[in-house]
Symmetry: C2
Subunit: 184 residues, 2 copies
């Protein structure tokens, strides 16, 4: 059956993502991934030169989807403030919808972030921040907001907020408090 390829880099990537999302990050073995694709493990190396490189592609896709989600969310926002809030909410919503993939994309050690994808993720937020609080120090403002949002969903996903209450409300409060603090 070989010559008409049974598989390609994209189908492998997709299957990897669903496997990781479903069975957790450790659940991914090349043997099981290959089996799910109807091939054997060594065949994967024709498309990705190592498991690390495959995971790199997975994380890159996660970052891109996250960016797209944020961009889509800011469309129908009038003020810069509303735009930032909408993007922050979308960021969190995506992370909560894909907790394993999000966590891995930002926690994996051997895969440092792709510079270009990080920029694409950051620039929309930074732009809205400039409209809101001026362009001076906008990189610092961005880092603070990003840290707040990432930290919140990261702790939330990791089960570190164990004392009840509405995390939705607390997230809202934290983001608005930070934004308020930028202009006072």
């Amino acid at each position: 059956m070989p010559y008409p390829a049974q598989v390609n880099a994209e189908t492998i990537l997709d299957r990897t993502r669903t496997l990781i999302a479903d069975e957790g990050s450790d659940g991914l073995s090349l043997a099981r991934l290959a089996e799910a694709l109807g091939i054997t493990a060594p065949s994967l190396y024709r498309y990705y030169k190592s498991k690390t490189e495959l995971l790199r592609a997975v994380h890159l896709t996660t970052q891109q989807q996250l960016t797209q989600t944020m961009l889509a969310a800011r469309q129908d926002s009038a003020t810069p403030y509303e735009r930032m809030l909408a993007m922050a909410r979308a960021y969190r919503a995506y992370a909560l919808a894909q907790p394993v993939l999000y966590r891995l994309a930002f926690a994996d050690v051997d895969v440092s972030g792709d510079a270009e994808a990080l920029l694409a993720l950051a620039l929309p937020l930074q732009s809205a921040l400039e409209d809101y609080a001026g362009s001076a120090d906008s990189l610092a403002h961005l880092r603070g907001l990003w840290a707040l949002v990432h930290g919140f969903v990261s702790l939330e996903i990791g089960g570190r907020f164990q004392r009840g209450g509405s995390l939705d409300a607390d997230f809202e409060r934290a983001v608005t408090a930070y934004l308020r603090g930028l202009t006072s």
Copy 2:
């Protein structure tokens, strides 16, 4: 030589921590850990019933050290504001001093946070926040501050702040902005 134990739970834990801190999180294999201790891998199972449980102990120790560092830092602070700032700085300083251990303690999937240790970590911060911004909503305030600090060091350690500038200054700015926002 056996009967006078060559090793105990604590020495294993210590060696594990230094090995992880030195050689990275993936570098830890039970065989190499055992070799560093002068024993063989199966012997480790007399003290920890699995690698996961050993790592759990490692992460617990990390959280406790982090807590101690914060507690020590708040001593010589006059105002609640200064106390919070001192603790936030100490938190970041510890995380930057032990990046691998910190990252693992909060990123590891199979080990959700120990409830008691998390409380011990959070309560000092929450207490200072109550003195600063009132006891109403202090849990929400705490979550925001913790998210901001954890998110910042997490992104910083992960190499996600790639665009230069002073991260020290940006951290300071972010924390103070958030604290300002809580009271306005």
